[in-house]
Subunit: 334 residues, 2 copies
């Protein structure tokens, strides 16, 4: 019997199509893992080719020279631009629009063309996360910025053709309506129970255990009850903050290890699948709300988003059982 499950953070429904379910190993990619050289002459993100990329925003470590390990550059084709006013206006007295003011960064994760996060050392990942947080906090001081989304597209199915390991950051002068709704849901839950919904999800998942991929002192990695896509994975701090900008340095080091191992498990078990990840965080101004928890959602792109998902407006059909995929990942040795 198929099941319809409700995502408690959005109240949206997901159909878990157990009649057409695939086993975890049916999702293993057929092609071999990407085999790449450490340096690619035409790649704008490789060390030595810095002149090929757009204006540099920051590098880490900050000293001069070519020994950078993480670099932030302006997106060559930015979705939003830093200059200008955000005043809202209407078109023909009906629609609402505003200038596309904000920021669109590219974060070059490593000078090496063939060093994706799963193959890094923990301290390299920690440096990357430190740069994420630093850039987050710089931009959050701009009064025009209302939301900062840090995300990664890995592979063509995930929306990128640039293979050099990189992430992106988009700072918008608006908060997505969807995130507003997630806050409404979390607020109502807090008003009803006095508790944090996200904290309760973690507690419940740890009690049940069957959707847990791994657990450390600081973090829980699990496949959510109402996963929209096969192998969807959430990394959540056990005691966290609403905003990613507030993560203590100590926790960034723990997160680095957890993120690397989680991505390594995917890399090894599914043969380097295409994936997206995004850091879900509170809007600027809501950083101190204790009924939200920042977290990372990893979405491997193993199946397509088709007409039902687009047509129903938000419901998904998932052809994998999160209990089975979590079990598979939990037992994947790295």
């Amino acid at each position: 019997m198929p099941e319809i499950r409700q995502d408690p953070t959005t109240k949206e429904w997901v159909i878990i199509a157990s009649n057409r379910v695939k086993r975890p190993r049916d999702f293993i990619k057929n092609q071999p893992k990407r085999s790449l050289p450490p340096y690619e002459p035409s790649c704008p993100f490789c060390r030595g080719n810095e002149y090929l990329s757009s204006e540099e925003i920051l590098r880490y470590p900050a000293e001069e020279g070519s020994s950078w390990r993480v670099r932030v550059v302006a997106n060559k084709y930015p979705a939003l631009v830093p200059q200008g006013q955000t005043h809202q206006r209407e078109e023909g007295g009906f629609f609402t629009k505003m200038n596309g003011v904000g920021a669109h960064d590219v974060i070059v994760e490593t000078p090496l063309h063939n060093r994706p996060i799963p193959l890094m050392e923990d301290d390299e990942v920690a440096e990357l996360l430190t740069v994420y947080r630093e850039r987050y906090n710089q931009l959050s001081r701009d009064p025009k910025v209302r939301l900062i989304t840090i995300f990664k597209n890995h592979g063509e199915a995930a929306g990128t053709s640039l293979i050099h390991p990189h992430s992106q950051l988009v700072a918008t002068p608006v908060v997505s309506a969807e995130l507003r709704r997630q806050f409404e849901v979390a607020t109502a839950y807090h008003d009803d129970t006095g508790r944090c919904l996200y904290q309760d999800i973690i507690d419940h998942e740890l009690r049940i255990g069957e959707r847990i991929v791994m657990e450390t002192e600081e973090f829980v990695v699990f496949h959510p009850f109402a996963s929209r896509m096969p192998f969807e994975t959430w990394i959540m701090p056990k005691k966290g903050q609403a905003s990613f900008g507030k993560v203590p340095t100590k926790n960034l080091a723990c997160l680095a290890q957890v993120l690397r191992i989680t991505l390594l498990k995917l890399y090894q078990s599914l043969n380097d699948p295409d994936f997206n990840y995004a850091i879900h965080t509170a809007p600027i101004g809501d950083e101190n709300k204790d009924y939200y928890l920042w977290h990372i959602r990893i979405v491997p792109r193993l199946t397509s988003i088709a007409g039902f998902e687009i047509g129903s407006g938000g419901m998904y059909i998932n052809t994998a059982l999160p209990e089975e995929t979590a079990d598979f990942m939990r037992n994947s040795k790295v």
Copy 2:
């Protein structure tokens, strides 16, 4: 300067990335149009191969024999099943889930393997739409059913590998949270103004004119102000009903022509692109609300849904200007 536009039906924001915008003809597919035989021996949807498909639910015309022109069959791997109770229950006292009871049909649009909608005659398309409506109305009488989504996946990027022209219907015992929100927005608009939001959108689009693809006495075809994807196209009745199940037969014939020409314009101008379409309609029980209008949304799959779209929860970056794509389609001769 990029723009951020608000979709008035969802209040969600779309970034129109004019800095990285592509011209309409940059989206023309490189490969030639699909070249197919009228009959494929292994295809379960071709005339003569009916024994290869699942249980038949209805055929049109209904007489016996092999002269069917549209056929509805059960999906071989249904996401939802017709038998069972929908009682809601919790898992471990925390999550909400229910049995996956509902319907999942496949609508075979034609007995011919190589006859997609843009190459049909208008009366064939009208028959298909009549079958949509008939099956909609049959299922809407089942008290378990709360929402009926009729949609189509054309091509691999749109989520199908079956090339024989077909659509799908999913009847769910729940209404998507996203559609609930669209109803909240439309209700608030009606309470504030006494008018129908969707009617006002049409009136505004017709007044402005620049996003109109075509207009008939009964229908308007346009690229919406806050298009999420390049060439996103809405077909809306000028005087309509909230529910697709209530469309008068006369209007189905007009819709057939408008749908065929709209898809033919895409087929000719973009070289048979992959696309999804879905009929957006009121939930069961809301069919008589006069502040909603059923409509069709066509979404060509020309760009990918990437980490920002997944991570921001609902905001999209669109790299085409709806005013430019609408102009291109308006001037496309068919």
